[in-house]
């Protein structure tokens, strides 16, 4: 905020307050779980791995929340970008198996970084095509978006089949990231540490861009009335393409992370996470990056605790969480827009 707008704001108008209440949820959840689980080491193992899993879900979902919330586009085809990103990464890693299997962590990481960059850029570029061909005719029409992006997803998945074959591919972790760090009775997979770092970088980056620049405002305004934004002299089309490209690129990055975590890869790799992604995006409040982050952590924590405490309940726990959150805050934890 600049000085001069601060001056313009009269003192008697209260500033918009930051809403801390939802932030308490994971804390309450974790404390409750500790009481129920009893064993602190088990609790710590579950909590740490859930936090890391939450970061991964966040990266996968962040592109979706951008596109879903900011552009008001429900992209069921998000999963296609996750899968394509994963395959791109695999293609890059295949000839680099030397780098992957040495004991040098630096070599390991540079191979991964290269793969991630290619996956991100590649899916980003595809995103541009997707926006032109698939999304453009259906801006503002949720239902059509669901259908047409579904169609896009099918085409992409089938194309992957045609190119890479239908069978499962291996996507081994590099030597340096295999296994776990063991501290006493707690074991935390090394790979998850990497995921946490990537997740935090993505989160902070997105927050900066959206809150410190005009872009966030423009997109929100454009969703509401793109005609008026154009009449103010902005090329909203380009901006939308940009957002879509970034969203797709993030999906590609997420796909890379996810496939490496899974260590195997099929064209349908994203189907397993997509439900989670939807839930996270909804819980967070369509388009709120912070909400998405919080939602991802919440969902991951709840999934781990409930799977440990009452495994039968694990399947429905996240869905239930979504319903409860919606009952409490019908627009999600951090609603961005009153749609």
């Amino acid at each position: 905020m600049t000085d001069q707008t601060a001056k313009a704001a009269p003192a008697d108008i209260p500033r918009a307050k930051v809403d801390f209440l939802p932030l308490l949820l994971p804390v309450v959840l974790a404390i409750g779980a500790l009481l129920l689980i009893g064993s602190p080491t088990t609790w710590l193992t579950l909590t740490l791995s859930a936090l890391a899993m939450g970061m991964m879900i966040f990266v996968i979902a962040s592109g979706m929340t951008l596109v879903f919330g900011l552009m008001d586009v429900i992209n069921f085809g998000h999963g296609a970008f996750i899968a394509i990103g994963a395959y791109l990464a695999m293609t890059v890693l295949a000839p680099l198996s030397g780098w992957m299997s040495t004991d040098s962590l630096a070599m390991n990481l540079s191979a991964l970084a290269l793969a991630a960059v290619v996956a991100t850029l590649g899916t980003g570029a595809l995103g541009m095509l997707f926006e032109r061909v698939i999304i453009r005719p259906v801006y503002g029409q949720h239902l059509k978006q669901i259908l047409i992006t579904m169609g896009g997803l099918i085409v992409a998945e089938q194309a992957l089949h045609a190119v890479f074959g239908g069978d499962q591919k291996a996507m081994p972790l590099p030597t340096g990231l295999r296994g776990a760090i063991v501290m006493g009775d707690i074991a935390l997979e090394k790979y998850r540490l990497l995921v946490v770092i990537v997740g935090l970088v993505v989160f902070v980056g997105m927050q900066m861009v959206l809150n410190r620049t005009r872009i966030g405002l423009l997109i929100r305004a454009g969703v509401e009335n793109s005609e008026m934004v154009e009449a103010l002299g902005y090329r909203i089309r380009r901006l939308f393409i940009g957002v879509f490209v970034v969203g797709s690129g993030l999906a590609g990055l997420g796909g890379t992370l996810w496939a490496l975590y899974r260590e195997t890869l099929t064209a349908g790799i994203a189907n397993d996470v997509m439900v989670l992604v939807f839930i996270v995006v909804i819980i967070g409040g369509l388009g709120s990056v912070g909400g998405c982050f919080l939602g991802a952590v919440l969902v991951a924590l709840l999934a781990n605790y409930s799977a440990f405490l009452v495994p039968k309940f694990a399947l429905v726990s996240t869905v239930l969480l979504m319903v409860l959150v919606l009952l409490w805050r019908p627009q999600g934890l951090y609603p961005v827009a009153k749609r």
Partner: protein
């Protein structure tokens, strides 16, 4: 007479009328037109999906509610009949009881969901229904002792509906008249009657109010329409019809299982059929349902033929391979949303006006 039957909602386009008549004729004579199991199976599936899609259109097209739980009601109907026959034996009583219980259960569930959640914003309602449907599917798979889990249940149907039952000693127009034919016409008559009834309901004063609510619920409320009530009734109606469609489908398949009724794929197929056919017009359900099921059943065969023609051409041969039928279907989805944004019926009616 015809106007009354169609509730004054005529196709309003010559070409559309012709296509509808053709479909009606085809479905009415399917067992004899082309003999064989494939034709009759396809025709029956078309019938059931016409009803299912029409019932969904009440929600989506007429009331503007997006629900992802429609297959749940379809499944309730299927399981109602299926489980009743599985546990009570292949009697009409069991079928009737199963359908009735399913209807009561389905409509009650719809009313509950409606009353509890129709107040929230559209997209959230969609997500809540998605959640409910997911939980229901999980429940069905976990109660496998009753439901058969993923494997579903095969069951027997009353004697007169079985393929082994001979109605006529001699084949008619080259088709042996068995219990399958009886079952087919049972489905045909039921679907036709329910479709006409649906047509009547969307063209009643009630149906007009639904459209008003779709257009602007805030205004409708200000005119004195209790929006939640109307929406809930629409949800119940639509659910009830879906239950019946599910019951008929189970009766026809003599099988019920999650993959045939509850899967999210079917939900998406329904959505596609509605949109391709044209939302907010029941004739769209007929066109969409027919086209889609035909494509689903014969696209692969068609591709098989095409593939032999282009064999050897590298890329095209790959794409037209029968195993890639989904690829083609996906492209068709996209194209149809492109070129028929108001659905086929909408497009036809537009061209009639211009």
């Amino acid at each position: 007479m015809l106007r009354a039957l169609l509730s004054d909602d005529l196709p309003r386009n010559r070409f559309l009328s012709a296509v509808l008549l053709l479909i009606l004729f085809g479905l009415a004579t399917a067992p004899f037109l082309v003999s064989g199991a494939s034709a009759i199976n396809t025709a029956a599936k078309i019938l059931i999906f016409i009803l299912l899609v029409a019932s969904y259109d009440i929600l989506l097209g007429y009331t503007g509610i997006v629900s992802f739980a429609h297959t749940m009601f379809f499944g309730i109907g299927g399981y109602g009949v299926g489980l009743a026959m599985h546990f009570m034996g292949p009697t009409w009583g069991a079928a009737g009881l199963g359908a009735a219980l399913a209807l009561v259960f389905g409509v009650t569930l719809a009313a509950l969901i409606g009353l509890l959640s129709l107040r929230v914003k559209a997209i959230f309602f969609a997500m809540i229904t998605l959640a409910v449907a997911t939980v229901f599917a999980v429940l069905v798979s976990q109660l496998s002792d009753y439901t058969g889990g993923e494997d579903g249940r095969s069951f027997r149907v009353p004697e007169v509906l079985r393929p082994t039952y001979k109605v006529l000693a001699e084949p008619l127009f080259g088709t042996p008249v068995t219990g399958r034919i009886v079952a087919y016409y049972l489905v045909f008559v039921a679907v036709l009657a329910l479709f006409l009834a649906t047509l009547r309901m969307v063209n009643s004063p009630f149906g007009r109010v639904l459209q008003a609510i779709r257009e602007n619920e805030y205004r409708a409320e200000a005119l004195g329409y209790r929006v939640v009530k109307y929406r809930t009734i629409a949800t119940c109606l639509s659910a009830g019809l879906a239950v019946l469609a599910g019951a008929l489908y189970a009766l026809w398949l003599r099988y019920t299982g999650p993959d045939t009724t509850l899967s999210f794929n079917i939900m998406l197929n329904i959505l596609l059929m509605v949109v391709i056919g044209g939302m907010g017009t029941l004739y769209g359900a007929v066109i969409g349902g027919t086209l889609f099921i035909l494509a689903e059943n014969y696209l692969q065969k068609l591709l098989g033929v095409a593939a032999t023609q282009v064999e050897g051409i590298p890329l095209i041969g790959h794409i037209l391979h029968p195993d890639r039928w989904l690829l083609i279907l996906g492209v068709l989805f996209v194209l149809s949303v492109y070129f028929f944004p108001t659905g086929i019926v909408g497009k036809l009616r537009q061209s009639a006006k211009a």
